[in-house]
């Protein structure tokens, strides 16, 4: 299979060879169940899990015991939202979130909405940022949780996390921030920022699919979270089920690598991204979606006028793997809900493309991608499509 160049690192990332290397022994020799307490197969597995927990905690400035392993960020989000609501004072049953959140949050909110939970969806400005005073006005006595992502998966726009956290604290509400796209890419410090709950995913940072984390702030959340998957009582009773030891080890290694390389790597990616973006923005009818000032270094989301979106994407995908929105909703061929909230009309939202570079993207790849995008754009525009 000859794959196109991969520019879709916000959908998923390839597993770093060093991550894979770290995982393999846990598939082969050390196959124990981390809960087996009567023999070394179990002890070895448990030690490996605890070491990975330390590594992930370190990456986000948390304590190891604040890290709960799950099967992914989506499960972590379900655990966080449902888990807090089911234990909370019945009067406090409102979630405030953004219209531009990932489906993992929006779909969970929608399901909760049907069970009587009140959900308020705030818009964002044209540049993708939320308006703090709007959030402040929205928080009422009913509000239990504010769920606002750290960085948007489609545009890379980074929300003013510390200000949101401060506001949440003042108003006495919990702050959940989906850190899936930010962690491992830019410095994240949950305690410095004042975050109460943060879901993470390994496969967005060169780790394996099928493993995630919920950061649970020991001080502010403590035992207020009710488990959603019960059984053997793993993960301090918050998440039962035999631990995915190789997956967890992989996440740990991915966190170590991310922490080591972040400052260099984010600079390198930013320069690649900027080169790519500047070259395309020079063309007529190309504009950037989202603010330049507050966004992830490796992502650009560009709107292309004068082309039909699905056709454009199909042609682009012949040589470069990109998407017009989140992978989770890309099958639908509907315009991105994120871009629509930011004020784009349907056709332009459909003709917007997210380019996300990654650890294995090289200068030469960017040149090839640029040439291809330009060629496709010219061809489609010339043909009047």
């Amino acid at each position: 299979m000859n794959y196109p160049l991969y520019f879709d690192h916000n959908a998923t990332t390839p597993c770093d060879p060093k991550v894979l290397e770290a995982m393999v022994p846990w598939f082969t020799t050390h196959f124990g169940n981390a809960s087996s307490s009567s023999h070394p197969y179990g002890w070895m597995a448990e030690e490996a899990v605890e070491s990975a927990r330390e590594s992930v905690a370190h990456l986000i400035g948390a304590k190891a015991k604040e890290v709960i392993f799950t099967s992914g960020a989506t499960e972590a989000i379900n655990l966080a939202l449902k888990g807090l609501l089911s234990q909370a004072d019945p009067i406090k049953n409102e979630i405030i979130t953004l219209q531009t959140e990932h489906r993992a949050v929006l779909d969970t909110c929608k399901a909760l909405d049907q069970t009587g939970v009140k959900v308020t969806y705030l818009p964002v400005e044209k540049n993708g940022l939320l308006k703090l005073d709007q959030l402040e006005a929205a928080i009422g006595p009913q509000t239990l949780i504010v769920a606002i992502m750290y960085a948007n998966n489609e545009t890379g726009v980074i929300q003013p996390i510390s200000s949101i956290a401060r506001l949440a604290k003042e108003k006495g509400v919990f702050f959940l921030s989906d850190g899936v796209q930010a962690a491992g890419k830019i410095p994240v410090s949950v305690h410095d920022s004042g975050i109460d709950l943060m879901p993470l995913s390994a496969h967005k940072m060169y780790g394996p699919k099928g493993v995630g984390v919920l950061f649970v702030n020991q001080k502010t959340i403590g035992s207020k979270l009710h488990p959603q998957i019960v059984g053997g009582g793993q993960e301090r009773g918050l998440r039962s089920g035999t631990l995915n030891v190789p997956g967890i080890v992989g996440f740990g290694q991915a966190a170590v690598l991310a922490a080591q390389s972040m400052s260099e790597e984010s600079k390198r990616l930013k320069s690649l991204r900027d080169k790519f973006e500047i070259a395309l923005l020079e063309l007529p009818g190309v504009s950037r979606n989202g603010t330049d000032a507050h966004r992830l270094p490796h992502v650009t989301n560009l709107a292309f006028e004068g082309v039909q979106g699905t056709d454009f994407l199909k042609h682009l995908n012949a040589k470069i793997a990109v998407s017009s929105g989140s992978a989770c909703s890309s099958i639908s061929e509907k315009p991105s809900h994120v871009l629509k909230v930011m004020g784009l009309h349907d056709a332009l939202a459909l003709a917007s493309v997210r380019f996300a570079m990654g650890r294995f993207t090289e200068d030469d790849h960017v040149d090839q991608a640029l040439a291809h995008v330009k060629a496709v754009l010219k061809k489609l525009r010339d043909s009047g499509n």
Partner: protein, 380 residues
């Protein structure tokens, strides 16, 4: 010598399973929901795996949902089965795995169902007359009874229980974690509404599992947040886990009779050797009866011994033998096995669960017998 006899807790992966998974960690890393070829290639592999699992179990691919493991699958079937079908009464037994028992207890605590637990005798046998009586008095019940017990190996007759459930219109869920990959399940003829599997119990990867739900008894999703698994389970798929569990099941079916014959011989040999050399030995539940228990599990009850009291697992480990006192999930807890407690087993006797796989050898069993003989010398 290091002997691993804790295969009911988890099994070593088959190398061929790892081999099948590796390309999906290296080259085929796309997100299956992505529309470009990185994504489509992986999507195809997932659906191929689903089809394979469905074929082996004689189910429709649309009835198989991949999960993160048996526990999530049990939680999904029970919580969502109850919610979707407006169930107000659940029937289970005190010797179910905690993934079932704690889930139902949690539903009962929230007031969603009333929970009735069947009585079990000292052998761990269920009273099916009692089940019928309960089904009669509580129409539209959910019944959750495992196919085989993970600690004492007792096998329940799913056909008989399922027929009763059908007769009284109950939703029948069965935790089949210990039998998938070790026994054949024909879901076209088996009267069950949902069953579950965990890949790591049959030489597949940890973190993988699946839920089968009869298409006539559809349930709501448990984890929201994406259209994956046909809207039944949000979240990017654990691609390697899915590839791995399907491959593991395929390998299990390739030579299931051969594996069974090999393991049965080990178990039978072990039973006889222990009976011959350790006076007063007994077997918990039905595990000593090859007809009525898993061929993979032998739960041994040893005579009271001062040297080994409370130290048996430790002493076994010192001799290089890895076994367990019960379910791994609760083996860290000092509360002991809830299964053996339900069987009212003698607290003065130490119990140990030995569980076998196709990778165990006669030599390992003989070694274990020798060490047990040393730990329990015959008094002269």
């Amino acid at each position: 010598m290091r002997v691993y006899l804790d295969n009911a807790a988890t099994t070593a992966m088959d190398e061929r399973v790892i081999e099948a998974m590796l390309p999906y960690m290296k080259d085929h890393y796309g997100n299956p929901s992505s529309v470009h070829s990185h994504g489509r290639e992986v999507r195809t592999a997932i659906e191929r795996s689903r089809k394979k699992v469905a074929e082996l179990l004689n189910a429709a691919p649309s009835e198989i949902f991949f999960t993160s493991g048996g526990t999530e699958a049990d939680n999904t079937a029970l919580v969502c089965g109850i919610a979707t079908h407006g169930i107000q009464h659940a029937i289970s037994s005190p010797i179910e795995h905690h993934a079932v028992l704690h889930t139902l207890e949690s539903c009962a605590k929230k007031g969603q169902v009333k929970l009735s637990l069947l009585d079990v005798n000292q052998k761990g046998d269920l009273d099916l007359d009692q089940l019928e009586t309960l089904l009669k008095t509580h129409p539209n019940s959910l019944v959750s009874l495992m196919h085989a017990n993970n600690e004492i190996g007792n096998i329940n007759d799913l056909d008989q229980i399922g027929q009763l459930c059908r007769e009284y219109g109950a939703f029948f869920h069965s935790d089949t974690v210990q039998t998938i990959g070790h026994y054949r399940h024909d879901l076209k003829s088996l009267p069950v509404d949902s069953i579950v599997a965990g890949g790591h119990k049959f030489h597949g990867p940890k973190g993988s599992g699946f839920l089968y739900v009869d298409k006539a008894k559809k349930i709501h999703p448990f984890i929201y947040g994406g259209a994956q698994e046909r809207n039944m389970r949000g979240g990017t798929e654990n691609v390697i886990g899915i590839i791995g569990i399907a491959k593991a099941l395929e390998l299990a079916y390739e030579d299931m009779d051969g594996h069974r014959k090999h393991i049965e011989q080990l178990k039978l040999h072990f039973i006889h050797a222990l009976q011959n050399h350790i006076p007063g030995i007994a077997f918990n539940g039905q595990s000593g009866d090859l007809e009525k228990s898993l061929y993979t599990v032998l739960n041994v009850s040893l005579p009271p011994s001062e040297e080994n009291s409370g130290m048996l697992l430790f002493n076994l480990d010192l001799n290089g033998i890895s076994a367990s006192g019960g379910s791994a999930c609760s083996s860290g807890a000092s509360v002991g096995s809830h299964v053996l407690r339900a069987l009212k087993s003698d607290p003065h006797r130490d119990s140990v669960r030995f569980s076998f796989s196709r990778f165990n050898t006669l030599e390992e069993v003989n070694y274990t017998v020798e060490k047990l003989k040393e730990l329990y010398p015959v008094q002269v």
